[in-house]
């Protein structure tokens, strides 16, 4: 990590449309090498926040700095090293994939033909790049969208729901691509998604927004905890007996597993209790849906106000 400067810094963003407060004091930070998962229920203000960051909508109050430049007063400098997909990959349907990239390449000084070919290869569109975009599937458009975002070698990548329409393989490729970019090129990435398990696997930080307010902004590990506790799965042979032993600590049970909210420090004690009661413990692990669980607990379900 060479620079201490934050790549993206939002300070107390407020957005009012008419009388309605869309965003309340939203603050965000993304460092180079970070992948920030930006999550929240529908209508929470994710896309609006992204549009404020990109200068697509006016900011009622607050500030956005990208690479140290203020988006409102130094727009051209601030936006220069940003690559983005907002909402959906809206491309020129009547142009070929290549022409879409070409006209965007024209807008930057140092994007040459080689770079275009490089990016096409990176997103795996070599075979269809000369077809019109109107013939593309949603997944292919998503790939082309990512290609146009990467074209000018940005150091901040802002992706709004980039996994929409991608098949499992595509999602894996995107995940690997983004992880690679963050690690190798030290890129800062902000990614919003509904697909929580997707984010869980590769984001380093997480920000949760609800009703226009940030309710949490922390590292991945922190985010999974509800009041300092993470959800664990413990596989045992006698589920009913375990229930008796641990009483109301258990959150839920199924055939072979009990689920418990616990801090890391509590785990050895819990195992010991079970073993003492002659219950066989086969496996203890973090619950796969721990982020989703934490998310739902924190947001209180999906309520659009």
């Amino acid at each position: 990590m060479e620079s201490i400067q934050k790549v993206l810094e939002c300070k107390n963003l407020n957005k009012k449309i008419g009388k309605k407060q869309i965003l309340k004091n939203v603050s965000l930070e993304v460092d180079s090498g970070d992948i920030l998962g930006f999550i929240g229920p529908n209508g929470a203000g994710k896309t609006t926040t992204i549009k404020l960051i990109l200068g697509l909508q006016s900011i009622t109050s607050g500030e956005v700095y990208i690479n140290g430049y203020n988006i409102q007063t130094q727009f051209e400098k601030a936006i220069e090293k940003v690559g983005t997909i907002v909402e959906s990959p809206d491309l020129y349907m009547y142009l070929s994939g290549y022409n879409n990239l070409k006209i965007i390449a024209n807008l930057y000084k140092d994007v040459d033909e080689n770079r275009i070919q490089e990016v096409i290869k990176l997103v795996g569109l070599e075979n269809r790049i000369n077809d019109k975009v109107s013939k593309y599937s949603l997944g292919m458009r998503q790939r082309l969208g990512i290609a146009q975002a990467l074209l000018h070698k940005p150091n901040l990548l802002i992706l709004d729901e980039p996994t929409n329409g991608l098949d499992p393989e595509g999602i894996k490729q995107l995940r690997d691509l983004l992880t690679g970019l963050a690690k190798k090129e030290n890129m800062a990435i902000l990614i919003s998604s509904h697909n929580l398990s997707e984010l869980e696997n590769f984001c380093t930080k997480i920000a949760i927004i609800q009703n226009g307010e940030m309710i949490e902004s922390s590292t991945m590990e922190e985010a999974k905890k509800v009041e300092g506790k993470t959800l664990y799965d413990i596989e045992v042979d006698l589920v009913e007996k375990s229930k008796e032993v641990l009483k109301d600590r258990i959150d839920s049970i199924d055939e072979k597993t009990i689920k418990i909210h616990a801090s890391k420090e509590e785990i050895p004690g819990l195992i010991e209790t079970l073993v003492m009661a002659k219950i066989k413990v086969y496996k203890v692990c973090e619950d796969q849906t721990s982020l989703e669980d934490a998310f739902l607990k924190k947001t209180g379900g999906n309520v659009i106000e």
Binding site: L56, E76, I79, N99
Partner: protein
């Protein structure tokens, strides 16, 4: 900025709309020329039908009723004249004379049957038939000229003769003199024959305006009509004196009269005739009306606005692109006209002159057809640019392509109605601040006064600039403030 414009052009040239209009234009212009060339000649009056109609009328009349006598004689004389003219070629000078003089002679002869005058009338009739058979129209013209001279002498001999009558006679004499000098045969010398007749009519008109001017002055619209009379009169004179047989005097939609002195006249009208103008307007409106709104509607505007360019630059690049499309349409319309004329009339005659009457020098001047075209093209440019700017501004304001295309088109069509009010009602003077009476600068060409009194060239330019600036500034402000809504 250049890159932005290049991108916009790439987008436009990958759309079908522009090509569809260009193809329709090419097809319509070519079809139009074909119709001109091959179908026009077939439209002729059917004399057979005329004859039958007269015969039917005669049959239907009650011949025993003496009140119908005179009508019967008249109809029979008609028939006789038609039968007489059938002996000669349809375009011959004989047919022309029969139609213009013969009918009267035949009618007089038939009417006086059984009276004392019959002998004299019959003699006149026989002489007329003899002249026709002699095949010498000049003798006929000379005789008319001699008659005219003696009439003039007689008139001058009387005391306090009517000067107006004399002037009329002098004009008739002039027509006959030209006829003999320039060898303009009665009837079949098409355009020159018409020119002689029209010249005489316009002379009468002009004398009428000149008399009014002396007795208390002309209203503005009469002044404008006098101006038209002078233009046509002088051009007919020019046509007769230079014996330009192939062409007729044409006028464009803003009242500029001209003669395309040879070859094809179509080229001279390229930028002044509404049929070509409509293609230019529709093509530019479709582009200007969608260039901003479509990007908003399809969401692609976000692709543009997250680039390191100020919004002002992005909008201006789009506007300049529209101007480039306008230029392309100008060239396209010109080329299509040029090529279609070349194919139908031959390319060799292109360097021809256009004759116009200049009020700066008070004389007929000839100018190169390309210069004439450029003058007209430049004169009408404000109209195209203002319509385009309106579509562009609406497209930016409402991000609705349908409104952005339809409103300016409606405005263009409605401009004739508004201008009609401006020309015809004194109270409509405030319309001078409206843009439509001002946006055709070619009404001022060659020192002419415009049909609408309160405007002048500098005033019109100022009004056009004012409207342009308002539309541009509003568009820029709105575009810069625009929030990119979630879709």
């Amino acid at each position: 900025m250049n890159n932005l414009i290049k991108n916009e052009l790439t987008k436009i040239f990958h759309k079908k709309a522009l090509y569809v209009i260009l193809i329709i234009m090419v097809v319509l212009i070519f079809v139009g020329r074909l119709i001109d060339k091959f179908l026009y000649e077939n439209v002729e009056a059917n004399e057979l039908w005329e004859k039958e109609a007269i015969q039917t009328t005669i049959d239907s009349l009650d011949k025993s009723d003496p009140t119908y006598n005179e009508q019967l004689i008249s109809l029979n004389s008609e028939l006789e004249a038609i039968e007489l003219s059938e002996k000669y070629d349809k375009n011959s000078w004989q047919t022309y004379l029969i139609n213009n003089y013969g009918r009267d002679i035949i009618y007089k002869k038939n009417l006086s049957k059984g009276t004392d005058e019959y002998e004299e009338n019959k003699k006149k009739y026989d002489q007329f038939i003899e002249k026709l058979q002699n095949n010498d129209w000049k003798a006929f013209a000379q005789e008319e000229l001699d008659e005219k001279n003696s009439e003039i002498e007689q008139l001058k001999a009387t005391e306090n003769y009517d000067k107006e009558t004399l002037a009329g006679l002098e004009d008739e004499k002039q027509v006959l003199t030209w006829r003999i000098e320039k060898n303009i045969e009665y009837g079949n010398d098409g355009n020159l024959g018409i020119a002689l007749e029209e010249w005489e009519l316009e002379r009468a008109q002009l004398r009428n305006y000149e008399n009014k001017e002396k007795n208390g002055g002309l209203t503005y619209s009469e002044k404008y009509q006098k101006q038209t009379a002078i233009q046509t009169l002088e051009l007919y004179k020019y046509q007769i004196e230079n014996a330009i047989k192939e062409e007729e005097i044409l006028s464009d939609e803003v009242g500029n009269y001209y003669i395309a002195t040879s070859a094809d006249s179509g080229l001279a009208t390229v930028f002044s005739q509404s049929s070509y103008g409509l293609f230019i307007i529709i093509a530019t409106l479709i582009i200007a009306g969608t260039i901003v709104s479509e990007e908003f509607n399809k969401g692609t505007i976000k692709l543009l606005l997250v680039r390191p360019y100020k919004r002002t630059k992005i909008l201006m690049s789009k506007f300049i692109t529209c101007l480039i499309v306008l230029a392309i349409m100008y060239v396209a319309v010109f080329l299509v006209q040029f090529i279609s004329s070349g194919i139908f009339d031959g390319f060799e005659n292109y360097n021809f002159k256009v004759a116009i009457y200049s009020f700066n020098t008070n004389s007929v001047e000839t100018i190169n057809v390309f210069k004439y075209m450029l003058l007209n093209g430049a004169g009408i440019l404000p109209l195209y640019i203002l319509l385009l700017t309106l579509a562009f501004a609406l497209s930016t304001l409402f991000t609705n392509s349908a409104i952005a295309i339809a409103l300016p088109l409606l405005g263009y069509m409605g401009s004739n109605i508004i201008n009609g009010f401006a020309y015809n009602y004194k109270k409509a003077e405030f319309l001078k601040f409206f843009v439509t009476p001002n946006w055709k600068l070619n009404v001022f060409l060659f020192g002419k006064i415009p049909q609408f009194e309160p405007i002048s060239l500098p005033f019109s330019i100022a009004i056009c600039l004012l409207y342009f600036m308002i539309m541009m500034v509003v568009s820029l402000i709105v575009f810069n403030k625009k929030e990119i809504k979630n879709i």
